[in-house]
């Protein structure tokens, strides 16, 4: 499967498969952190998470770009969101009784995925609606 097709398949996210996969990968990251602490598994699950969310974000923000630039720019936005999420935990820990541990990190990563997926699905639905309007 070519990169563009793969990217399109992920971006369409039929039945929320890839959203579920991204959330599963965060849970796998959590399990890996608690039990195995394997860098190989960590890199594998994190790559899945980053790839899916990069594609979603590329699809949301950079539709006018080519597939490779879309994924690359989407990746930058994922990195920004992870940085912001981490910063949020750090600043929050100054005022509330929260800790920057694996649980809060995973919670933030999951929230990011859900938010991105929601916006992505919303956009896909709007597109489909507009296409339906055009065909009518």
């Amino acid at each position: 499967m070519r990169l563009r097709e793969l990217e399109k398949t992920i971006a369409r996210d039929k039945r929320g498969c890839f959203t579920i996969l991204a959330i599963c990968s965060t849970i796998a990251v959590l399990i890996n952190s608690i039990t195995l602490s394997s860098p190989i598994l960590g890199i594998l699950f994190s790559s899945i998470y980053l790839l899916i969310n990069s594609v979603f974000l590329g699809h949301i923000f950079f539709q006018e770009e080519s597939a490779s630039f879309r994924v690359a720019l989407g990746f930058i936005v994922v990195i920004m969101l992870i940085a912001l999420g981490g910063a949020g935990i750090i600043i929050g820990s100054g005022f509330f009784a929260i800790k920057f541990d694996t649980n809060t990190t995973i919670a933030v990563l999951t929230l990011i995925t859900i938010a991105i997926s929601f916006i992505n699905r919303l956009q896909v639905r709007m597109k489909l609606k507009s296409k339906a309007h055009q065909s009518n």
């Binding site: 394997s38 920004m80 940085a83 933030v108």
Partner: protein, 854 residues
């Protein structure tokens, strides 16, 4: 064609491998900086090849492949620095890693981890707390989150993350930035290469520090801002620009505030150019206002920061008056050599030329104005700092690093213009498909009239980038202290591994290099594994190498109530802080009084690690017998001893039932300390006898102190009653040397640095190994000790020198090794006043020990 293509691939891969191999060959076990002689030449050739690949439009490569070459080059450029300067630089980078380590290990801010008064004061109010917690939050948040996701040690994420992000994304973003100006592929690719490894950026691009992450996100914000000008989806890109600016400000305020102010400038320009604006008269002032916001926001924020954090940055008109005209015009460039000025300034000049040359279409006018105004504003902002801000919060040369992100596309436009010749107007990219139709492939690639200028331009550009790398190394590497050495790393690992085995809380007094390695390993203010920091650590470390006393280590235990104290000594710092002492002597003395954990490495980076375990209960028992006359009746009485460490043994004798006591015959190594409670009258010669009278119903305790490590004392003076004569200097306004039989009060006043010198003959002592001196002094005093073999021989006859040392304000025993091969005949004690005010040193005893300590 396939053959040419393969050849270029082989050449590029070969040179890249050459750079990688030369990089790793440069790395030695001691990380002494010795760049492999072939590294920069190969890197230079690689640069020339890359520039040729990029500038020759008729080479058989698509733009995507060329961009891949640029990214590969960008990775290598960062790899060289990361690999060569492995493990980490000391200073800021080590502190950033330490803070990240604290977040990773404990999940809370180090201010809360070991609450100390200074920290708690800084987080009292809401805004103070917000400021403290937001500093570098995005950088720490990103690094720690990725470490938790990947389960890779934080060290590697910290070392590699920014290099990888920079290496991969900066060329891409630079390419895209250039594209927003509707530049050709060649210009965009040139922008990519120049942005990724421009000398001024190469100083930072691979460093895992807040301002570097901030720069990275600043560049991304700039790209999104430019996109918001050029396409219809303005809101989306303004949202992304604001998002990147928030991340940037949470990495470093310098980049973040500038980023936000550029967003304002963009609004000003859009408002100025919008055809629907209601009033032109308001648009221009808005534009001017937004320009001045870019210029002044950072200086004003710097000054106002003192409201939430103790900083001292302030506006001052006096600063510019103290700067000479040459510096007023050229700023930092006034101090640069020609080569440095060319390295750092050439692209800026090219960019200014490019700004003039750039023929903007209707759509690009806004972009051009935005970029030019942003550039001018950044230049003026730097000058505001340079001329008017005293004690700026950051090195203002860092502001130069913001400018390339704005102007490099113009530099690329200027270079592109230089490359164009009338006979070689560039075909469209991708036209290599028609390439096979041409007869001479080589001529097509390098037409004879183009060869020389093209080669010269490529060589010049590559030379600038290579020189930038060299300057970056020279800027960072100050041997032997600027890089955390493997020996220090090993030292802190040994200590940490011991903790993992025993889980015993410890505290470390360390030299700066090992301190950075330790903090990077266990985090800041880790209550279980505490590396003392900043002034506290510095003072204790300096005291430790100057006084070689266990007392210094005991002071450290107060910080976390640890039963274990470690001391690390890096040879370079021992010599720096105790120039009169020798590293080997310091190690020798500490080997006697502390447990030696390891002596690692050799040369200037040699690192010694010692451990002190504090016993829970003092050791007690029956001590030697002394002779006591009670009312003229002789008794042989036992003493008792008590000690925590054998170098500080306290001997005590309890007496009662008489009105007068005379004590004699205590061992030579003992030093009389006190009688408690105070008797009615005393008469003491602490060298020989103690007489006192008191009530027969009172229990008196007489105490002596001894250093159990040096029992074989062959000569001592504990009373200073006999034999001392003043020998200078006679310009002193007053001096006195009065003893109460135990302590001598050595006072003087006169001119600053004027010494008072006293001497005493020694009975020609042979094979002496150590001198023990116990004293305390006032803060404006210094002392020196000299022992002579034969003073008539001048300096040649001096057997021992210790000085000038600042005395501790509490009684402290100083131990000095003596040259055992020289007989000792004359003892000198010298004291001076550092400021001319009266001062006093209290000498308790001087002892000379003969044998090696047990």
């Amino acid at each position: 064609m396939q053959y040419d293509r393969t050849l270029i691939y082989i050449l590029f891969i070969g040179l890249s491998l050459g750079v990688s191999i030369a990089t790793f060959l440069s790395w030695s076990e001691t990380t002494f900086f010795s760049m492999h002689p072939l590294l920069l030449p190969i890197f230079f050739l690689l640069g020339v090849l890359l520039f040729l690949i990029v500038v020759k439009d008729n080479l058989p490569f698509s733009t995507g492949i060329k961009l891949a070459f640029v990214i590969a080059y960008s990775f290598l450029a960062n790899l060289i620095h990361v690999a060569l300067l492995y493990p980490i630089l000391t200073g800021d980078l080590a502190y950033h890693l330490a803070v990240e380590r604290t977040w990773d290990k404990f999940g809370i801010h180090y201010f809360l981890l070991l609450p100390i008064e200074a920290h708690l004061q800084q987080i009292q109010g809401f805004f103070n707390r917000l400021y403290i917690f937001q500093r570098g939050a995005a950088q720490y948040g990103l690094v720690v989150s990725l470490a938790k996701m990947l389960r890779v040690d934080l060290f590697w994420i910290n070392a590699l993350l920014i290099g990888l992000l920079w290496g991969f994304f900066v060329p891409i973003i630079a390419f895209k930035v250039s594209k927003t100006l509707r530049a050709s592929d060649r210009i965009s690719l040139l922008t990519g290469i120049l942005t990724t490894s421009l000398p001024i950026l190469m100083l930072w691009s691979w460093k895992s520090a807040g301002n570097v992450f901030g720069l990275f996100f600043f560049f991304i914000a700039t790209y999104f801002l430019l996109k918001s000008f050029s396409i219809n989806a303005k809101r989306k890109y303004i949202f992304l620009a604001l998002l990147a600016s928030v991340v940037s400000v949470l990495c470093h305020p310098m980049t973040g505030i500038t980023s936000f102010s550029l967003v304002l400038l963009a609004f000003g320009i859009k408002n100025y150019y919008t055809p629907r604006r209601s009033s032109f008269s308001m648009a221009l002032p808005n534009l001017v206002l937004s320009f001045f916001i870019v210029v002044l926001s950072l200086p004003i924020m710097s000054i106002l920061l003192h409201i939430v954090y103790p900083t001292y940055s302030q506006f001052s008109l006096a600063k510019i008056l103290s700067i000479d005209v040459y510096h007023i015009i050229f700023a930092e460039y006034a101090d640069y050599t020609f080569i440095s000025a060319l390295t750092y300034g050439a692209t800026t000049v090219l960019a200014i030329v490019g700004m003039v040359m750039f023929k903007a279409g209707e759509k690009e006018k806004e972009l051009r104005l935005f970029l030019i105004l942003a550039f001018v504003a950044l230049v003026v902002q730097h000058r505001v700092f340079y001329y008017f801000i005293e004690k700026p919060l950051f090195g203002i040369h860092r502001l130069y690093a913001l400018q390339p992100f704005i102007i490099i596309p113009f530099a690329a436009i200027a270079i592109d213009h230089l490359l164009r010749t009338p006979k070689s107007s560039p075909p469209k990219v991708g036209s290599y498909k028609s390439f096979s139709k041409q007869k001479s492939r080589f001529r097509a690639i390098f037409p004879s009239k183009e060869v020389l200028p093209t080669l010269l331009i490529c060589i010049s550009l590559s030379a600038i980038l290579s020189q930038g790398h060299l300057s970056s190394f020279e800027n960072d590497v100050h041997e032997p202290y600027s890089i955390v050495s493997p020996f220090s790393m090993k030292a802190v690992t040994l200590i940490h591994e011991e903790y993992l085995r025993n889980h015993e809380r410890y505290v470390v007094i360390s030299d700066p290099v090992t301190q950075h390695a330790g903090l990077a390993l266990v985090g800041r203010y880790n209550p279980e594994e505490l590396y003392l920091e900043q002034t506290t650590n510095r003072e204790l470390f300096v005291e430790a190498v100057r006084q070689t006393s266990r007392q210094t280590l005991l002071k450290a235990t107060a910080f976390n109530d640890a039963p274990l104290v470690y001391l690390t000594i890096f040879k370079y710092y021992a010599n720096l802080y105790a120039p009169s002492a020798d590293f080997d002597d310091i190690v020798d003395i500490y080997s006697k009084i502390l447990e030696e954990v390891a002596i690692l490495g050799d040369g200037e980076r040699q690192t010694a690690v010692f451990r002190l375990r504090i016993p829970r209960e003092p050791y007690t028992g029956i001590g030697p017998i002394v002779t006591v006359l009670k009312e003229l009746q002789q008794f042989r009485l036992n003493t008792t001893y008590s000690y925590v460490f054998s170098d500080d043994i306290e001997y005590a004798l309890n007496l009662t039932g008489a009105t007068s006591y005379n004590i004699t015959d205590w061992p030579m190594c003992w030093s009389y300390e006190s009688i408690s409670p105070l008797p009615s009258s005393t008469s003491i010669d602490a060298n020989a006898w103690i007489n006192f009278t008191g009530s027969p119903t009172v229990d008196y305790t007489v105490k002596w102190a001894a250093n159990g490590l040096f029992p074989n004392v062959v000569w001592k003076d504990d009373s200073f009653l006999h034999g001392w004569t003043f020998i200078g200097r006679f310009t002193l306004s007053s001096h006195s040397f009065t003893s109460d039989g135990d302590i001598v009060k050595d006072s003087l006043s006169g001119k600053p640095e004027d010494p008072a010198n006293y001497q005493r003959d020694l009975p020609s002592l042979q094979n002496c190994t150590h001198l023990l001196v116990r004293l305390k002094g006032e803060t404006n005093s210094k002392f020196m000790i000299q022992i002579w073999e034969d003073i008539s021989e001048g300096w040649e006859g001096r057997a021992f020198l210790a000085g000038w040392l600042e005395p501790s304000t509490d009684y402290t025993t100083y131990i000095f090794p003596l040259p055992s091969n020289r007989p000792l005949t004359l003892f000198w004690l010298t004291v001076l006043t550092t400021d001319g005010n009266p001062t006093t040193i209290y000498w308790d005893y001087v002892m000379i020990a003969q044998s090696e300590p047990e």
